[in-house]
Symmetry: C2
Amino acid sequence: MLGVFLIVVDAERARSLGERVLGRYGASAAEARLQADLLLEADLRGRRSHGLQRLSVLTARLECGVLVAGAVPRLEWKAGSFLAVDGGDGFGVVAVRAAIEQLVLRAADTGVAAAGIRRGGHIGMLAPHLEEICGKGLVGFIMTTSEALVHPTGGRTALLGTNPIGICVPADPEPFVLDMSTAAISAGEILARGQSGEALPPGRCVDSHGNPTTDPELARAGAISPFGGSKGYGLSLAVELLVALMSATALGTDVVGTLDTDSRATKGDLVIVLDPDAVGQVATVAAISSYLDTIRAAPRAAGIDRILIPGDRMRAERARSLRDGIRYPSALWDSLLALDDNRSAGADD
Amino acid sequence: MLGVFLIVVDAERARSLGERVLGRYGASAAEARLQADLLLEADLRGRRSHGLQRLSVLTARLECGVLVAGAVPRLEWKAGSFLAVDGGDGFGVVAVRAAIEQLVLRAADTGVAAAGIRRGGHIGMLAPHLEEICGKGLVGFIMTTSEALVHPTGGRTALLGTNPIGICVPADPEPFVLDMSTAAISAGEILARGQSGEALPPGRCVDSHGNPTTDPELARAGAISPFGGSKGYGLSLAVELLVALMSATALGTDVVGTLDTDSRATKGDLVIVLDPDAVGQVATVAAISSYLDTIRAAPRAAGIDRILIPGDRMRAERARSLRDGIRYPSALWDSLLALDDNRSAGADD
């Protein structure tokens, strides 16, 4: 691997840079804070593909007018427990948090509530949204579509998004938080390995003929494989269909507007919130916490240090980043500083 | 592989044998019909582990009194969109169909409705239940827990069920129906390969030390792996927690009563139904059907004959079985006939 110079940045400094840049490009104070917080959370947890590096796409989208600063999401209860959300081409995080705020209130009344979100933009890492739901003692599901990068099993062209699934369940002291893409590898990882000259792990991508490849360049001309073979393909496709149907958004190659800088977002999100109190047996949260601890302490295979529960690694990484700072490749950090400076200079023209 | 003698049985003959056996062991006419139909559907679709071979466990459970013939499920709307179901230790299929009947009606009103089912028994193959939901034009999710057979990633003991996930989405002419276990292989397949002397496919199981094994005997002393590595583990665990919490049922090794013949069932089910009409854009079903056809017709990798949509293979197998009959290992078929005869003789005692 070629050397990458890293710079260590204090979390608050990274957050305020993100907030300032978004503000310079027209985001309101509230939008800039929500979006910068979300990007920072990804960097704190080591999920850099969803971190501040997305500022360059977000600001280009703001400049192009396909991401609309100041858009106010329109929320409409189409039925007693179903909320239709039109994000008005604004920030995805604004739309999804507005939806969650309503769903949490409604689910406490009806036991379950769901929202379909369209014209809402990229909602970034799912875990922080899920934690909003779990923080209220509720169960959450989030599914979201994205640009077609993944081939169906047996195919060789990209027809499915990386379609992440997020699920949270309350537990003590920390909730269970699953936040996973249904793709075998991220596009960002392929790009990074291509730049550093590293091969891909086997079984993650196919070339343009549909043959498995570990060459990042051949993979970029081919497609990403779904995780977990035909079962993962089935889940990825289920997310694609469920989200499109329940949010009236696009399918397959018609999904645009999260990676590019000149198309309005046609992806969608589906959020489902369930209230365990409706079951009338709240003691189960204690049983869940105890069960998770049993798994953590279970007999391990040779060479395994720890058995993890989804969310454990993220939380540990977050604590480390808050204590020691976030490590950014210096080229990335410089580009973020430039985004701040350029716009600052441009504003004086 | 050792030879297995097969006998070809007409679907109606298999169904009526199942119905008659269940009746002899005390099931009401309605219970026997529903349960026999469900077992038959699995055999028709080539999922023999969920087919008539389960009659031996069901009848033993009836004899032992841990499965209660004639139990009437108690359904209670705990909140506007949340239904708590107590199956009263009756047939799982009776409880889940009663729940679905209510959920479909409620979701048409509230947009989304969910049910947690306890004391409901094994609900068998999920696809036929999902088709009940899709047949009404609705979207369905079913998750269900089962005996701990699967190890957590990094572990070597069974702490998770095979925890299947079912998702259906309406489409023309046939719905999308995903019905998959979150385990890498079924316990039935391990048993069958052990009997026939075949090795397991790699990566499906670990031995008692946590090392991957393809030896069925070593696998039975170890545990089944989750499908798809740590992501599949995360999903399997999510199903375990969601179901237990929303149905007030057991977790991990406390789940019993679907494989054994002397314990009341402590597993649970979670069913969620969503109404696409609530979105107000029903034309999307046509878009979904067209998208699925695009995937079926997409460029294929070398050596691939067809790209399949979940549900396609099952439907083809079902049509073939209805036309040509169902192939049962003759030893299995003989044991089913004996179950019928023995009880018939016993009834005269």
